[in-house]
C-alpha cells in the first residue's frame, strides 16, 4: 500500500482529535462467480473523521463507486462481493451486519447521494413522499410531524416555495432542485457519514456551485463526515480537506488537499493533476484566413408535439450569428439548455433551422434538402459527446470509419487504406480496424469518431461536448489531438463545451450563449479574462478550482 | 313445469314456409297445426280437419274443420285462413308445386269448410297435406298467410298446442313456448303428427349449444332435460348414466348420400360414376360417421329401407367397397387423371366424415382427389355452382336427409333428374322424370311400388345419387321425463315431467 492512509501528513484542524466515523481497512471486492478470482478493489484503506470532507478522485473505472456502495452495503448481490477487510462505521463492522441491521444503519448513520439527479428519484412519486419514506422507515413521528420536518429540511437546502415542492413530481423540478431533494433525503436524519458519488457532475457550473456550497454548509452545521467522489479536480481543489487517489481498484495516495495538489508523490497522481486544463487561455494570434462557416441570424424553434399534443414551442436558438475561419477553433459555451447543441445540430443539418442562413464557403445550406444536402454532408462533420453510443456496436471500427467514403463512391480497398491512415493520425494502430467498439476505451472511441469524421476531408468539424465524457487524462490527449489536426490540415472547428477550462485551452474564439441567444463573443483571451457581460462573469466565477494552478502544482 | 331441450341447432328463421330447415319445421309443429296428420303406420289421419269428403269423380275434396279451433290471439280458425295458408304453402313447396299443376280450384265453402278441385284424381293431395317434412302444410291466420311466399312472416300465431313467447325469443339461442290452454286435442292417442296433442307441461324451452360436449355435460348435471340429437361419439358418456334415457325417437332415421356433378368431367361419364360407386363402401362411412352399429345400417334404397318404397336393387354396387371392380371400370373409361373436387364441410359433425371416407376410397381406386374444406354454409352455396370444378365448381359433395322427407319421389329431391333444373348434381334422366309424374298420378300402392323400384334401378345405374347408408340419431332425456313419444318429428306433447 502506498501512503499511510490512517496517518495523514497534515490532518485537518477540526478533525484531528476525534475518532474516525468511518474506517475502511484492507477492503477487497471481487466479482462473483468467475472461477479465476477477479478483484475489483484491493487493499483499500482510509478513514474519515467527523466534519471532514474526504474527496476520492481517480479515473473512470478506478473503483470509486464500488467503494462507496460497499460502505452502504449496496453491492449488487449477484455480481460483486467483499472478500476481505473491514468497514467500520462508528466502530461497527458493517460487513458483519445483518441485512436488517444494514437497513437500520442506512439513512440514519450513513447516507448517499448519487450522480444522476434525473434518475435517482422515483419518477412516479411526489418528492415529499419520497423524503417522507425515510422518516416512515426510521422514525415513529406522526404524519404532521414528519411533514413539518420535511418542509424544514427543504427550507434548509434553500428550496423556494417548499409546500409546492413537497407536492411536486421529480420531472417538475430542475436538475439542481432534484439534487437538493436527494440531499434532503440523505441528510434529514442527520447521518454521521454522507457519501456523495459525483453529485454535481450532471449539473451545470452555476448549479454545481450552489450545491457544493450547500453540502459544505450542511456539513458544518451537523458536523457530518463527507466522502465526496468526483473526477473533477476543480471541485476537489474547492472543497476537499483530504484526498484519496484511486487507480485500478487500489488506493494510490492519501493526503491533505494541499499535499496532493501541490506535492503529489506518485507519478500517477502527478499525471492526473497536471492534466487538468488551465483556465488561463493560451495566447494565440488572431487568424486572418478565409471564413469557412458563417451563421447568419440562425434560429430554431421546436414546435410543440404533433397531432394530439398541446403545442408548446421552444425557441432554442434565436438569431445566432457567428463565423469560423479556416484553421480556427470557435468555442460555444453556456449553461445547459442555452441552445448550444441546437446550433451544432442545425449546422450539420440533423435539424432543420427555422430561419437564417448557414453559409459554408458562401453556399447556403440552411434550406438544402435531399440531393442538395448530400454533397454538403462531405463538408461538415460532427463528433458527439457520448463515445459509447456514437459507434454502432455491431460494426467493426474499420467499417464505421469508411462508411462515409463508401457512401460517396470510393472503392472499398482505397477507403480501407485511407481509414488506416486516419487511425494512425488519431494515434490508433491499424489492427483497430478489425475490432468492435466495445473493445476500446472511451478515449479511444472518441478518437475513432474523430477519425471517422475526418475521413471525408470535411472543411468544418463540429464537436458537441466531444471531450466532456472523458477523464481529464484522456481529455488532455484528445484535446491535443484536435489541436494537432487543426494545425496539420487547417480544418475549421466549432467546439461546443460547457467546461470553461477546456474552452480556454483549445479555442481561438469563444461565443457565449444564454437562452438561445449569443450574449458575448470574442477571442478566448478577451472573453475569459475581461468578460463584458454579467452572465459570462457568473459563468467564469462558478468554475470550480479557479484559484489553483494545476499544471504548476500551486495555488494562484 | 318447464322442459328445457337442447335442439340440434338454433332457431333463426321462423317461417316454416320459407325455410325447410329441420329446426324451423320442428318449431312449426310446436305452434301450428296441420289439417291432416300421419301416424306411425304411415296412415293419413284428420288433425285440424274433422273429416273430408271425396266426390264421386275423385276430383273434389271437401274438408271440414273441427269445432273449437282457435288461433293464439283468440280468433276462431276459419276455412278462409286455411285456404290462404294452403295457397302460400303450395307456392313454395316442391310437392305443393306439383300438386298445384293438378288442382283447378281451392275455394271456401262456408266458415268451416272448403274444397279443393282437382283436374285429375291423385292421392298426392292428401299425402301432401299430411306431409311430415319438410315444409309441412301448416295453417296460419289469413292476414299472415297473405304475406308473399318469398318474404318471411313477422307474426307467429298458430293454432297449435304451444304458444310462441315472442318476448323471450333470442334468435339462435333460445325459444320459449307456453302451453296453449285453449287447445282442444283430438281424442285419439297421439302417434307421430296425428292423434291428440295433449300438453302436460307449462313451458317448453329450446336452447341451442354450439359445442356438442356442453349439452351432454349439462344433461348429466341435471341442467337440461332433453337433447334432440346426441353426437354418436359422446353416447358412451350418457349410456352409462342412470339418470338419463338414451333412445332413438326418430325410428325412420336418416340416410346419407353423395352426389356427382353430372355436368362436368370426369363424372359426366357414367362408367366413372359407377367406378366411384363401387369404390365407396357404406361400412366405412357409417363407422366413421356413427361408430356404434346399433344406430346405423347399410342400405341401398334411395327411398330408405323400412319405408313403403324400400328396394334392394344395387346393393352389391353401393354397399361393399369393391376397389378392384372400380379400378377395372376406371381403366375401361380411360380416366385421364382429372382431379376430383370433393367438398368437405368442417363445422358440422353430421356431414364432416363422409367426404373423408369417400376421398380415401376414391384414391384407393386410382382417382386423383382434391378435398376442399370449407364451412357447411359454403358447401351449401357451392353445391349450386354449375361451373366446372377448375372454375370453382365441384365433382362430389355429400349430405344427409331424414327419411321422413325422402321416402317418396317427391319429397326426395335427390331423384329429380331434369338436368340443370334438378337439384345440385343436375342429372339428366328423362325416364325418371316420367316415372315421377306417373307416380303422382298413380293411386294404387302396388303400382307405385313398381314405379319406385324402376326409379331405384335407374338412380343406381345412372349414378343419380350414391346412397351411403342409413342411421338414426338417438335423443337423450332425463328420467324425470315420461311419455316421450317416438316420432320422426321431435314433439313435446304427451310428455310429463316429475319433480324428482
Amino acid at each position: 500500500m502506498i501512503g499511510s492512509a490512517s496517518h495523514p501528513r497534515k490532518p485537518g484542524p477540526s478533525s484531528e482529535l476525534r475518532a474516525p466515523v468511518l474506517e475502511i481497512d484492507n477492503l477487497a471486492v471481487q466479482v462473483v462467480g468467475e472461477p479465476p478470482v477477479r478483484h475489483i478493489l484491493e487493499d483499500i484503506s482510509f478513514n474519515i473523521r467527523p466534519g471532514e470532507m474526504l474527496c476520492v478522485v481517480g479515473e473512470s473505472g478506478s473503483g470509486k463507486s464500488v467503494t462507496s456502495l460497499a460502505v452502504m452495503g449496496l453491492l449488487p448481490p449477484g455480481s460483486l462481493r467483499t472478500s476481505t477487510g473491514r468497514i467500520l462505521v462508528e466502530g461497527e463492522d458493517i460487513l458483519k451486519a445483518s441485512q436488517a441491521r444494514l437497513r437500520e444503519l442506512r439513512a440514519t448513520r450513513m447516507a448517499m447521494i448519487f450522480q444522476e439527479p434525473m434518475t435517482a428519484l422515483n419518477p412516479v412519486e411526489k418528492v415529499g413522499e419520497q423524503i417522507d419514506e425515510v422518516l416512515r422507515i426510521h422514525t415513529k413521528l406522526s404524519r404532521a410531524e414528519r411533514r413539518a420536518k420535511i418542509l424544514e429540511m427543504l427550507d434548509a437546502v434553500h428550496m423556494p416555495d417548499v409546500e409546492r415542492i413537497y407536492d411536486s413530481y421529480p420531472h417538475q423540478l430542475s436538475g439542481g432542485q432534484r439534487q437538493r431533494v436527494v440531499i434532503s433525503m440523505a441528510l434529514i436524519l442527520e447521518p454521521k457519514i454522507l457519501i456523495a458519488d459525483e453529485p454535481t457532475t450532471a449539473l451545470d457550473v452555476t448549479t454545481q456551485k450552489q450545491i457544493l456550497t450547500l453540502i459544505r454548509e450542511l456539513q458544518k452545521k451537523h458536523n457530518t463526515a463527507v466522502l465526496f467522489i468526483t473526477h473533477d479536480f476543480g471541485v476537489v481543489a474547492e472543497i476537499a480537506d483530504r484526498i484519496v487517489v484511486m487507480n485500478k481498484g487500489r488506493v494510490i495516495e492519501v493526503g491533505s488537499r494541499d499535499d496532493i495538489l501541490a506535492y503529489p508523490r506518485e507519478p500517477y497522481t502527478r499525471m492526473l493533476v497536471s492534466s487538468v486544463p488551465s483556465l488561463v487561455p493560451k495566447q494565440r494570434a488572431a487568424l486572418k484566413s478565409d471564413i469557412v462557416l458563417d451563421l447568419k441570424e440562425l434560429s430554431k424553434t421546436y414546435a410543440g408535439r404533433g397531432f394530439f399534443g398541446r403545442g408548446r414551442s421552444i425557441a432554442a436558438a434565436q438569431g445566432v450569428s457567428l463565423s469560423v475561419r479556416k484553421g480556427e477553433i470557435v468555442g460555444i459555451v453556456g449553461e445547459s439548455g442555452s441552445g448550444k447543441s441546437t446550433v451544432a445540430r442545425c449546422v450539420v443539418r440533423l435539424q432543420d433551422p427555422t430561419s437564417g442562413n448557414i453559409l459554408v464557403h458562401g453556399d447556403d445550406i440552411a434550406k438544402a434538402t435531399g440531393s442538395q444536402l448530400r454533397p454538403m454532408r462531405r463538408r461538415v462533420q460532427i463528433v458527439f459527446q457520448d463515445p459509447y453510443r456514437s459507434l454502432n456496436p455491431r460494426r467493426r471500427v474499420g467499417d464505421s470509419v469508411i462508411e462515409g467514403l463508401i457512401n460517396f463512391g470510393q472503392r472499398r480497398d482505397e477507403a480501407l487504406n485511407r481509414a488506416r491512415e486516419l487511425l494512425g493520425l488519431v494515434g490508433l494502430s491499424a489492427d483497430a480496424m478489425e475490432r468492435y467498439p466495445h473493445q476500446f476505451s472511451g478515449g479511444q472511441r472518441q478518437r475513432i469518431c474523430i477519425a471517422r469524421a475526418l475521413a471525408l476531408d470535411p472543411d468544418i468539424l463540429v464537436a458537441d461536448e466531444a471531450v466532456s465524457a472523458l477523464d481529464v487524462s484522456v481529455q488532455a490527449q484528445v484535446l491535443k489531438l484536435l489541436d494537432e489536426i487543426r494545425e496539420r490540415i487547417g480544418i475549421a472547428v466549432l467546439f461546443i463545451t460547457h467546461d470553461l477550462r477546456v474552452a480556454a485551452q483549445i479555442c481561438d474564439t469563444i461565443v457565449v450563449m444564454q437562452h438561445g441567444r449569443v450574449v458575448e463573443a470574442g477571442s478566448a483571451a478577451e472573453v475569459l479574462t475581461a468578460p463584458r457581460q454579467d452572465y459570462t462573469r457568473a459563468l467564469i466565477e462558478a468554475a470550480p478550482g479557479r484559484d489553483w494552478d494545476f499544471q504548476n502544482f500551486r495555488p494562484l | 313445469q318447464t322442459i328445457t331441450a337442447v335442439m340440434q341447432s338454433g332457431l333463426r328463421v321462423m317461417d316454416p314456409v320459407v325455410s325447410t330447415a329441420f329446426i324451423t319445421r320442428d318449431h312449426g309443429y310446436m305452434i301450428y297445426d296441420t289439417l291432416l296428420g300421419m301416424n306411425e303406420k304411415f296412415e293419413i289421419k284428420p288433425q285440424m280437419a274433422e273429416k273430408w269428403e271425396v266426390a264421386e269423380d275423385q276430383k273434389t275434396y271437401t274438408f271440414t274443420l273441427r269445432d273449437g279451433l282457435k288461433w293464439h290471439d283468440g280468433a276462431p280458425v276459419t276455412s278462409e285462413d286455411c285456404v290462404a295458408s294452403l295457397k302460400r304453402w303450395a307456392q313454395q313447396d316442391s310437392t305443393g308445386q306439383v300438386l298445384m299443376t293438378m288442382v283447378s280450384d281451392i275455394a271456401v265453402v262456408d266458415g268451416k269448410s272448403f274444397k279443393v278441385v282437382l283436374k285429375e284424381p291423385t292421392s298426392l293431395l292428401l299425402e301432401s297435406l299430411a306431409k311430415l317434412s319438410s315444409r309441412p302444410a301448416f295453417m296460419m291466420p289469413k292476414r299472415i298467410a297473405e304475406t308473399p311466399a318469398s318474404e318471411s312472416i313477422k307474426e307467429f300465431i298458430g293454432s297449435g298446442p304451444f304458444k310462441f313467447v315472442a318476448s323471450e325469443f333470442k334468435p339462435g339461442l333460445k325459444v320459449v313456448y307456453d302451453k296453449n290452454k285453449d287447445y282442444v286435442p283430438r281424442s285419439e292417442p297421439a302417434s307421430w303428427t296425428a292423434g291428440g296433442k295433449v300438453v302436460n307441461v307449462d313451458r317448453v324451452q329450446w336452447a341451442a349449444m354450439p359445442d356438442q360436449m356442453t349439452p351432454v355435460n349439462a344433461l348429466m348435471n341435471g341442467e337440461i332435460d332433453f337433447i334432440q340429437q346426441v353426437p354418436f361419439d359422446l353416447l358412451p358418456m350418457l349410456e352409462n348414466n342412470n339418470d338419463v334415457n338414451v333412445e332413438v325417437l326418430d325410428k325412420l332415421g336418416n340416410w346419407t348420400y353423395y352426389r356427382f356433378n353430372h355436368l362436368h368431367p370426369p363424372f359426366n361419364n357414367k362408367l366413372l360414376r359407377q367406378a366411384a360407386m363401387h369404390a365407396v363402401g357404406q361400412d366405412d362411412v357409417l363407422k366413421a360417421l356413427v361408430g356404434n352399429p346399433k344406430y346405423a345400417k347399410t342400405c341401398a334404397a334411395v327411398f330408405g329401407c323400412d319405408t313403403p318404397y324400400a328396394d334392394t336393387y344395387g346393393k352389391d354396387v353401393v354397399i361393399p367397397s369393391n376397389i378392384d371392380k372400380a379400378k377395372q371400370l376406371l381403366k375401361e373409361a380411360n380416366y385421364d387423371g382429372t382431379p376430383i373436387v370433393v367438398l368437405q364441410p368442417t363445422d358440422l359433425a353430421m356431414v364432416a366424415p363422409q367426404p373423408i371416407v369417400i376421398a380415401s376410397a376414391l384414391r384407393k381406386a386410382g382417382f386423383k382427389v382434391d378435398l376442399k374444406t370449407m364451412d357447411w354454409q359454403s358447401v351449401v352455396t357451392q353445391q349450386g355452382n354449375q361451373k366446372s370444378p377448375s372454375e370453382g365448381g365441384w365433382n362430389i359433395f355429400s349430405t344427409y336427409s331424414t327419411l321422413a322427407t325422402s321416402g317418396n319421389p317427391f319429397g326426395n329431391t335427390t331423384v329429380a333428374a331434369n338436368g340443370t333444373k334438378a337439384w345440385a348434381g343436375w342429372p339428366e334422366v328423362p325416364e325418371i322424370e316420367k316415372l315421377r309424374l306417373e307416380f303422382a298420378r298413380a293411386t294404387d300402392e302396388t303400382k307405385r311400388k313398381e314405379i319406385t323400384a324402376q326409379i331405384q334401378k335407374l338412380a343406381i345405374d345412372e349414378g343419380v345419387v350414391g346412397p351411403l347408408g342409413q342411421f338414426s340419431v338417438p335423443a337423450a332425456y332425463s328420467k324425470k321425463l315420461t311419455g316421450v313419444l317416438a316420432s320422426p318429428i321431435t314433439v313435446f306433447w304427451n310428455i310429463k315431467k316429475s319433480d324428482k
Binding site: A107, N122, E133 | A149, E223
Partner: protein, 313 residues
C-alpha cells in the same frame, strides 16, 4: 383532457369507416348466400332469387354499401337477415355475458398474474421464478377448450361445485350470476395470466435496474417496499399496455369460451353470424368490436397518467 378525448374519439371515425368498408368487401367476396340458409339446402334457384330480391342482396355491392352506410348515419344497423330482429337489439342482448366474461377475466388475470410476476421477479433466476415462468409457457400451450373441458369435468361433473353451462344475468341475483361465470373466466384467464405474469416480471426486472431503486435501498427500505412501492408502480405502464392489448384480443378467446360454456355472448354471435352469412349482424358486430378496441386503447392511454405523472395530455 376533455378536448384530448374528443380529438381521439373523432380520430376513430376514419378507422371505423375503413374497417366497415373492408369487412363489407371481405364479406361480399366470400362465397355463401344467406338466401340459401334461409330457404334450406333444397331450395330452387328461383326461390333463392326471390329471397335475395326481398332482402336487397341482388343489388350491386357498392350500392348495398352506400345504403348500409346511409342507414348507419341515422344510427340504424339494420335487421338480421335470418330472424329479422334488429341488429342493435341482438347486440344488446348478447352484450351482458361477454362483458361479464371479459371483465371477470381481466380481474382474475390481474389478481393472479401480477402477484405471480412480482414473485418471479423477486426470486429472479431462482427455482420459484423458473417454476412460474415454466407454468406460464405451459399456460400458453393448452388450448382454451381443453382447459374448459378439464374444468367442467373436474369441478362440475365430479365435484358438482358449478353448473356446466349457461348464463344468468346479474338481475337474477349475484350468486347465480357469479356461479356460472367462475369456470369460463378461469378457462379464459389461463393464457392471459401467462402473458401478463411474464410481462410483469420482465418490466419489474427492468425497473429494478434503475437508479431510484438504489436510492430506495439506500434509504433503508426493505425489499418488499422496494418491489411493491417503487418497482411495481414504475412497471405499470408496460403492464397496462399489455393488459389493454390483451383485452382487445379477448374477442377471439371469448368465442371459444362462450361455445364451451354456452354463454349467449357476442363471440358466439359473431361466429354464428359469419357461418350464416348474416351480413348486417356481422357488420354491426365488427363496428362494435373496432369501437371497443379503440375505446380500450383510449382508456389505456388515459390510464397512463394515473401511473406515470410525467405523461400528460
Amino acid at each position: 383532457m376533455l378536448p384530448y378525448i374528443a380529438r381521439r374519439l373523432l380520430a376513430t371515425v376514419p378507422v371505423m369507416v375503413m374497417v366497415a368498408v373492408v369487412v363489407f368487401a371481405i364479406l361480399r367476396l366470400t362465397p355463401g348466400d344467406p338466401a340459401a340458409i334461409i330457404a334450406g339446402d333444397d331450395a330452387t334457384a328461383e326461390q333463392l332469387d326471390k329471397i335475395r330480391q326481398t332482402m336487397g342482396l341482388d343489388k350491386p355491392i357498392y350500392l348495398q354499401l352506400v345504403q348500409w352506410l346511409a342507414r348507419l348515419m341515422q344510427g340504424d344497423l339494420g335487421v338480421s337477415l335470418l330472424s329479422g330482429t334488429p341488429v342493435l337489439s341482438m347486440i344488446g342482448d348478447r352484450m351482458g355475458p361477454s362483458l361479464a366474461l371479459a371483465l371477470g377475466t381481466i380481474v382474475v388475470t390481474v389478481i393472479i398474474a401480477i402477484p405471480l410476476g412480482i414473485i418471479a421477479a423477486w426470486r429472479q433466476g431462482k427455482l420459484l421464478d423458473r417454476a412460474i415462468m415454466t407454468l406460464s409457457v405451459l399456460g400458453f400451450s393448452v388450448p382454451t377448450f381443453v382447459v374448459g373441458y378439464l374444468l367442467i369435468y373436474s369441478l362440475s361433473i365430479k365435484l358438482g361445485w358449478f353448473p356446466v353451462q349457461g348464463y344468468k344475468p346479474l338481475s337474477e341475483g349475484f350468486w347465480p350470476f357469479a356461479q356460472r361465470l367462475v369456470l369460463p373466466v378461469l378457462a379464459l384467464s389461463g393464457v392471459y395470466v401467462a402473458l401478463i405474469a411474464r410481462i410483469t416480471r420482465s418490466s419489474i426486472i427492468e425497473v429494478m435496474g434503475e437508479d431510484f431503486i438504489r436510492t430506495a435501498r439506500s434509504k433503508g427500505a426493505t425489499e418488499r417496499v422496494v418491489l411493491m412501492r417503487h418497482a411495481l408502480r414504475n412497471a405499470a405502464v408496460p403492464i397496462v399496455t399489455i393488459i389493454g392489448i390483451g383485452i382487445a384480443s379477448l374477442i377471439s378467446g371469448v368465442v371459444v369460451t362462450e361455445s364451451v360454456f354456452n354463454l349467449p355472448g357476442l363471440g358466439r354471435l359473431v361466429v354464428e353470424a359469419v357461418l350464416a352469412r348474416d351480413y348486417p349482424v356481422i357488420q354491426g358486430l365488427i363496428l362494435l368490436f373496432s369501437f371497443i378496441y379503440i375505446l380500450i386503447n383510449l382508456l389505456v392511454d388515459l390510464l397512463y397518467p394515473v401511473f406515470d405523472p410525467r405523461i400528460r395530455y
